[in-house]
Amino acid sequence: MPTQRTSTGHEQGGGRVLSPHLQIYRPNLTMAMSILHRITGAVLYFSTFLGVWWLMGLASGPKYFAYVNGMFRSWPALVILFAVSYQLFHHAFGGIRHLVWDSGRGFSVRSAERLGLISLALAIISTALVWFLGWWT
């Protein structure tokens, strides 16, 4: 039987066994956290412009600052800021998890799951705390 190659170079009909692909795994916490780490990183990358825009407003004088600050205090902007702040904490605590793994610890399924849960909890608590304090003062 002649072998055929697909565009990705895998042999078909040659009796080769492919390694299991992503879709055969049951979705789990560590998988979701891993994907979210990259997505939150990419979102935060572009969100830095929000912080810089606010600083530019502050540097440009009272009139432009009033415009920028007004934008930041509108409801849609607050929702976006809240989401960005959560992603910042999510990525930060998720990153600490990666530093723990870099040290060679926490690789068992149980510890990996537990690290995921802890970082998720810390991210939620930190976001809530910052917004509570920001609102209250």
């Binding site: 990259r38 990358y45 930060a92």
Partner: protein
């Protein structure tokens, strides 16, 4: 080539071109780079993590501030330094992170290098905008 032959050939070369097998293998990984990127990503991550808590405090302080109050807070030398430091750590870290994403998903050589260049320009621009804005607030007080 025999071991002795190789040694003789190496000795005939100028010192900079005498290479060991390890030296030749360096830079041949997927990113044509060594561990420098990996280590820098971890180092900037650790610094960014610490700065995040200072950023959170500044955020809370600024939450209810008007223009004059905000300028006074940001213009405070400690706050301004912390903010510039945070911007440096964040921008460096996000340059490294986005580089990995581009290297992972973009396989067209020309597009890849165009995006890698755009990545450096974007991160530099964000850092310089933050630096200039904070500087203007600090030096106008």
């Amino acid at each position: 080539m025999s071991r002795q032959g190789r040694q003789q050939r190496q000795a005939a070369l100028p010192p900079r071109r005498r290479t060991t097998p390890l030296r030749r293998a360096r830079g041949l990984g997927a990113a044509h780079d060594g561990t420098a990127h990996f280590m820098a990503q971890r180092a900037t991550a650790a610094v960014s993590f610490l700065m995040l808590f200072i950023l959170a405090i500044v955020f809370v302080l600024l939450a209810g501030a008007d223009y004059e109050q905000a300028r006074r807070i940001v213009g405070e030398p400690l706050v301004a330094t912390a903010l510039v430091f945070t911007a440096a750590a964040f921008c460096w870290h996000m340059k490294l992170g986005m580089q990995v994403i581009i290297e992972d998903y973009v396989h067209h050589e020309l597009l890849k290098y165009a995006l890698l260049t755009a990545n450096v320009l974007f991160c530099s621009a964000i850092f310089f905008l933050a630096l200039i804005s904070i500087g203007r607030v600090v030096f106008s007080l």
